[in-house]
Symmetry: C2
Subunit: 336 residues, 2 copies
């Protein structure tokens, strides 16, 4: 065994205040330790940029332990086992795990899953077939329990969760799918490629007027990835027995105090249900959902990827999630 | 038929701004019209004061059409049919309906139910066996799906919904039941008579400290009747997969804009469900719940009533709901 081998990983320089900046991170090299019994070594091919990671970069801001300065940062990753002392994860196995790093030494604890091979592109296993796609799937199937004929609002719709959810909603028989996104290019893609009924540009000066106009037809299911301001805006348009699924709060993550939602009384008058989703609660059902998502992709479900090259590109790629620059699933490809 | 007979009813003088005042209402006499085919006349014995009525006394503040100045105001009522041209509601039948009035002419539409006789006091059919008790029942059984061993927080706990819910929660196996109420007398009653584990006086100077201390053990189910400020206070203490049931927002009804809730992100990190209840959605299940509530009362479930005499006492009794003066179910008894 080569004792001098090293991995590369992203480390937090300082706790993030407000919007994350690339200088909040650095890349470091570290030795790969010899494997203990039960461990295996994954050589990553892709790592992902996830908005939810932001919530762990400030102290006390999340359910999970915050990352401390000097510690490695996590994101989702996928690669192959290149060395193994664990028979459940043999050499050559395809594995998804967490780590913003070239290599991950794992004992199989935490979020580490061996995936069956597929002829679909590997990157999709971190996107439309991975955590974002699964979040969209369970948001509609388990939490919202979307019914045919319903009207759906999806915020951050050009993101990988929103874009997948909007198309799945169509296949489930939604009558109308409204998406919000930043800029005309994303809005055009949502309508022309992803089949949304309406796409509203939140950066446009007439956004509020257009939102009020389109939402006036009523909303049965809202899937939100933005946060307080969009929830507040949608509440007066919710139909009786509507469901609001919260899968992220990208706009609130960088705020010390989120804007307040003043209209929660609508939950009583309209008997609404508002519920947060964390997709890992659905882990036992992942294989079934992955099969459903793969079938949808083969049937033409559209997706977008933005693939950056090399781990050094990760900090800037991640920070762009919060300034509206991203369009689709942001991944970093690592050399084979 | 006596063509000169009259009823008495409460009429709205002006739309209410902020806290309702007795002068916002007046009592008027009106002729009782001859009954059309299918109609029947109820002579009321009790009418009730319900916080939810407030939301219809200002324009545009509720799901239901607001009451306009000069129009009669509704509350729940119970009485006997004294004249009938409807075989489903024969003379002598016990009927609950809506109307702040001595008599109600009904055709059976809207919330009008014939009730089976019972040896329990008639007033309870508007209280622990009526809408407040049913709200508590379905809040715990259908919405919260309370499980044995869970910890429960009930705001406005000395009110008829809260007091009933706290005791039902105990019978369902709740580990801890925390109530909030205004003043030491109510808090003493909650612990000593209604069996709450803790009762916290929101008017006391140490309320926030005591709340933080007691809630620190975690909350699985919150039943709220107060509104935004209590939701905001409870969110950081909710346990994973907790449920927040909103059955009223007494503190928000009189505010032009409710205080904002800034902590909705907790719904994602803790996978909480927040849901409003309007008990009429459960109408088909009322008989089963009424039987369960009657059994609980016979088994010793405690309740409090504040009974005022005569329709002229109603405006002041109602307004007291919003200044913390009420303690238990507020009813007005009408002469037989």
């Amino acid at each position: 065994m080569d004792m001098t081998r090293e991995l590369e990983r992203i480390v937090l320089v300082r706790h993030v205040e407000g919007l994350p900046r690339p200088s909040d991170f650095r890349i470091e090299r570290a030795p790969i330790p010899p494997l203990a019994e039960g461990q295996f070594l994954i050589a990553n091919r892709f790592v992902s940029c996830d908005p939810g990671t932001r919530s762990r970069l400030s102290p006390g801001a999340s359910y999970a332990r915050p990352v401390m300065p000097g510690e490695p940062v996590d994101g989702f990753c996928i690669g192959h086992v290149v060395e193994s002392r664990n028979p459940a994860f043999p050499e050559g196995a395809l594995v998804t795990a967490t780590g913003w790093a070239s290599h991950v030494v794992s004992s199989g604890r935490g979020y580490v899953r061996r995936l069956p091979p597929s002829d679909l592109p590997l990157s999709l296993r971190l996107g439309v077939l991975g955590i974002p796609g699964l979040t969209a799937w369970f948001a509609l199937h388990r939490v919202a329990m979307l019914k045919p004929g319903e009207r759906v609002l999806i915020t951050s719709a050009a993101g990988p969760v929103g874009a997948t959810a909007g198309q799945l909603a169509r296949t489930l028989g939604a009558d109308t799918v409204i998406g919000t996104a930043g800029g005309p290019e994303k809005c055009r893609w949502l309508v022309e490629t992803a089949g949304f009924t309406h796409a509203l540009d939140y950066k446009a000066s007439d956004f509020e007027a257009r939102f009020a106009e389109v939402a006036a037809g009523g909303i049965d299911v809202m899937l939100d990835n933005v946060g307080s301001t969009m929830i507040e805006a949608a509440l007066p348009h919710m139909r009786t027995h509507g469901r609001i699924v919260l899968s992220g709060a990208t706009a609130d993550y960088s705020a010390d105090v989120a804007p307040g939602v003043t209209r929660l009384r609508e939950l009583i008058t309209r008997r609404l249900r508002m519920e947060g989703i964390l997709v890992f609660d659905d882990l036992p059902q992942f294989p079934e959902a992955e099969a459903g998502l793969a079938a949808a992709v083969r049937a033409g479900l559209a997706y977008r990827e933005e693939i950056f090259e090399g781990l050094h590109a990760l900090p800037e790629a991640f920070c762009g999630l919060f300034t509206g620059l991203s369009f689709g699933r942001r991944l970093v490809r690592l050399p084979a």
